[in-house]
Symmetry: C2
C-alpha cells in the first residue's frame, strides 16, 4: 500500500521553548486559539475538557496528560499551516490517530496542540495495476481493506487494533501476516511528510506493495509453547509458505473464548493460515499436518470459509479487550519484545515461568512467525506497588530479549515507558545519532516532546 | 540475509577541509602514509600508480580519478582507526568494493584515501533457524551463495555483477528476483557502520531474510515490448507467484547469444522463472502459458534443471560485457530508471523509438517485475560529441521516468552523473534534508566528497 501517505502523524519524536502563546496561568492565549480556528474553521478546534482528556491518553496504563487544545485539520495544506503556526509560537505539536497505541505516544507531557488526523481519511488514488494506493493519514487499516474489497487487492499489515495508517507508520506496526507479507517498513512505499515549520517533504520510492486477496485456510493446533515454535520453524524450513502465524497461551485462549463467544479448547494454541490456489492449499495443509504431527502437536478445525476465518481472527483482534475483561476496572500493560525466531522457545518458556512466579495476571499472544510476542499484564493503576511490579516485569523481559540479540520494541514503538531499554539496545552512539537526527529535523524540539529520546 | 553487515563501505556520501597531510606538491606526506601502515600493516597500503589507477574508476564511462593511496583493512577495528586518522587529518575517505558500479561512485574526485574492503570477506555467522547470516562488507553475493549451497538457504538479491554486499547496500541493489524476494532494502536486517571519526554505529533490526533454495522452472517467451509487460502485469494480477522476470530486447538477446554461446531466437524476450514444489510449479506454468497465449506471446524452452537455468542466467549476468562487445574499445553507459509497472509499456516503446532515432548503439535489459530497466549505450569516450549525445539521451529518459512518477535510480545509485536528475526528483526540501543529514553525520564533508549531493 500507501504509495503516498500524507503523514503529518509520522513525525512524532522531541525539549521545548517557552510558551509565548500562554497566559499567566499557563493557558493558551485567546489569540492563538483564534489563529488555529482561522486555519481549520472554528468547529474543528476544541479546548473542551472532555476533548482534551480524550486525547491525552491511549489504550495503555500511562496516565492521561491532556493537550491544551485539539484541532482536526481537513487537508495537508492545513496541517502545514498548523505546523508553521505552532513552530512560530514555540508550542508542542502532538499527532493523534485512533488512540489505540500502547506506549503513551500521544500523551501531551508538555501540553501543546494535538493534531487529530482522523478527518483526513480519504483514499486518494488506487493504482490496481501497480498494486499500490495513495491514502490520507487518518485512513484505518480496516477502512482501507473495506475499500479494496472489490478490487481483488488487500493490505496485509494487521497489528490487531483498527489503527490509523499514520499511527502504524509511526510505530512500525507488524502483525499476524508479517511472516509472509512483512511489516509497515516493507509495505510503505512513499510518504508526504509535514516538517516542523510546515515545509513538505516527499520521500521517493517505488514498488509493488498491495497484495492480491488470498484464498486461504486456517487451522489451530495445540502444542506446549516450545513445541509450537519448533512447529513454526520447521514449517518455515520446509518452505511451506505460511501466511499467518499466531500463538495464544491457554490463559489468552480462555479469555478470547469468553470475550468472543468461541468454543476453542483451552490450551496453548498456534493458529496457522495458508494462502494459495485450491491445489497449493491442499499441498501446504498436508505438509503442515505432517510437521505438526512430527512435533507432537495436534491440528484441529481447519477453517476454509472466509467468514469463519474472519470470526477467528476477529477474536484474536479483540485479545486486548478480552485480557482486560479478566480483571474489570484494571488497565493493561503490554510488553513487545521480538527475538530471533530460534530463541523464541526459551524466552517463551522462561516468560511463562516468570509470570507464574510473579503472581501477576497476564496472558501471552504473539506473532511468532517473526519472533514478536506480547505479554499482556493486568494492573490496578491505583495500586502503586502492583504498577511497580508490572513495570519491573516488563523491564526484565526486555533485558532478556536484548541478551538474546532481540529488541524491546517489535511493533509498539518506544513512547514513554521504554526509553531506558532503548538506550541499552542501541548504545551511546545510537542514541546520540538519533538525538542529532531529531534535532536536525526539529531544532526547537516541539514535535511530540518527551518521547523516545 | 545480512543480519549484520560490517559495512564501513556503506557510508559513501560529501565539501572538504584543507589537506594538512599533503606536501607542497599536493602529495600525501610520508608521515601520513606511515601512519596508515601502522594501522593495517605495510603490505596493505599502496601508493603505486597501478593500484591508484585501478581504484579510480568503476565499470562506467566516468573518467578515472585516482585516490592518493589505497589501503586494505582486515577488520572493523582497523576501519575505525583509518576513519579516525583520515578525519583528524582532513583527508577524504572513499570506500571500494568490487569496482563493478556504474555511476562513478568510487571516483576520488578530491583524491584521498581509498579503503578497499575486499580483504574483509569472512562470513561470520550463519543462523539457519533464523534465516539470517552475518557477513563482512567484502563478501560478494556469489561467494555468499556458494557458502550457503549446502545449508538449503539462499540470498536472492542479484543485480547481475558479482558485486560486494557493501556496494549493494550503498546503491540499494535490485535485480531479477526483486519481484518476489525484494531488493537490498528488504533483505538487509542490520548494519554495523563506521562513522566518520571512527565511532561504531549498530543499527537494530530483526527478521527473516535468507530464503530457502527454491526448486524452479525458467522459460522464455517472445512478445513485442508492450505485450511483454502486459504479460507480466497479468501474471502478477493472477496471483501467479513469479520469482524472476527479466526482459531483453532483440539487440540484447543477439549480443548475449554471441557472448555466451547461446542459441536463443533473436527477438524481444521475456524470461520468467517460477519457484515452488513440483506440484505448485506445474500449476504456475500452466497459468503462465494461458496468460502469455492470451497476450499473443509464445512460450518456449522450459528449463527445469538447475544447471540449464544457471547457464541462461549467467548469460543475462554477462549482458553488460555482451553489450560492450558490440563495439570493441567503447565504454558503456547504463540508464537506470524505474517506473510504476503500469507505465512500463509506454516508456519501453518510447525508449525503443528514441534509441532508433538517436542513431546510438544500445540494448535494453530490465527487471520488469519491479518497473526497473536499463538502456546500455555504447560510446567512444574520445568522441566528445557522442558522449554528449549519450548523456543527453540518459537525461531525457530520466525526465520521462520522473514525469511518470518514477525514479532516475532504480538500483545503481546517483554517483557522479545523476545529481541534476536527483534534484528534479526530490525537490528543494528533499535535497536540503539530505544535505543536512549528510552534514550531521559527516560535519567535515570527508566521506566520499562530490557524490550524490
Amino acid at each position: 500500500m500507501a504509495s503516498l501517505l500524507r503523514a503529518a502523524a509520522t513525525l512524532g519524536l522531541f525539549p521545548r521553548r517557552g510558551y509565548c502563546s500562554r497566559g499567566a496561568q499557563g493557558e493558551l492565549s485567546k489569540g492563538f486559539v483564534e489563529a488555529l480556528k482561522a486555519v481549520v474553521g472554528s468547529s474543528h478546534v476544541s479546548t473542551a475538557a472532555a476533548h482534551r482528556e480524550q486525547h491525552g491518553h491511549d489504550e495503555s496504563m500511562h496516565r492521561c496528560q491532556p493537550p491544551d487544545v485539539v484541532v482536526w485539520p481537513q487537508n495537508v495544506e492545513q496541517v502545514s499551516r498548523l505546523a508553521a503556526l505552532c513552530y512560530s509560537q514555540g508550542l508542542p505539536i502532538i499527532p493523534f490517530g485512533t488512540g489505540t497505541g500502547l506506549e503513551g505516544g500521544v500523551c501531551a507531557v508538555q501540553g501543546g496542540v494535538c493534531i487529530n488526523l482522523t478527518h483526513m481519511d480519504r483514499i486518494l488514488k488506487l493504482n490496481p495495476e501497480d498494486f499500490s494506493v495513495v491514502v490520507e493519514p487518518g485512513v484505518t487499516r480496516k477502512a482501507l481493506n473495506t475499500y479494496l474489497r472489490d478490487s481483488g487487492l488487500w493490505f496485509p499489515v494487521d497489528p490487531g487494533a483498527d489503527a490509523s495508517l499514520c499511527g502504524m507508520v509511526a510505530t512500525g506496526a507488524s502483525g499476524t501476516n508479517a511472516v509472509r507479507y512483512g511489516t509497515m517498513r516493507d509495505n510503505v512505499l512513499n510518504l508526504e511528510v509535514v516538517l516542523p515549520g510546515g515545509r513538505l517533504l516527499h520521500t521517493a520510492g517505488l514498488g509493488q506493495r498491495c497484495w492480491l486477496q488470498p484464498h486461504g485456510a486456517l487451522c489451530g493446533c495445540h502444542p506446549a509453547p516450545a513445541p509450537s515454535v519448533d512447529t513454526t520453524v520447521h514449517i518455515l524450513q520446509a518452505a511451506v509458505p505460511v501466511a499467518r502465524i499466531e500463538f495464544l497461551d491457554e490463559v489468552m485462549m480462555d479469555a478470547c473464548n469468553r470475550h468472543s463467544q468461541l468454543n476453542c479448547p483451552v490450551a496453548p494454541t498456534l493458529f496457522l493460515e495458508f494462502h494459495g490456489s485450491e491445489q497449493a492449499l491442499a499441498e501446504q495443509i498436508q505438509r503442515a499436518e505432517e510437521i505438526a504431527g512430527h512435533n507432537g502437536a495436534s491440528l484441529f478445525s481447519w477453517a476454509k470459509e472466509a467468514e469463519e476465518r474472519r470470526r477467528l481472527w476477529a477474536a484474536r483482534h479483540s485479545a486486548w479487550y478480552a485480557a482486560l475483561a479478566l480483571r474489570p476496572g484494571c488497565k493493561g500493560y503490554s510488553t513487545d519484545v521480538c527475538v530471533p525466531i530460534s530463541r523464541l522457545p526459551e524466552i517463551l518458556v522462561q516468560t511463562k515461568e516468570d509470570l507464574k512466579a510473579s503472581g501477576l495476571t497476564g496472558t501471552i499472544v504473539g506473532h511468532v512467525g517473526d519472533g514478536n510476542f506480547h505479554c499482556i499484564l493486568l494492573v490496578d493503576p491505583e495500586d502503586t506497588e502492583e504498577v511497580r511490579r508490572v513495570m519491573a516485569f516488563g523491564e526484565q523481559l526486555g533485558r532478556r530479549a536484548l541478551a538474546l540479540h532481540g529488541t524491546c520494541t517489535g511493533e509498539h514503538g518506544i513512547g514513554l515507558g521504554k526509553q531506558q531499554l532503548l538506550q541499552e539496545e542501541v548504545g551511546a552512539v545510537g542514541m546520540e545519532t538519533m538525538r542529532q537526527l531529531k534535532a536536525m529535523l526539529d531544532p526547537q524540539g516541539l514535535m511530540n516532546p518527551g518521547k523516545v529520546l
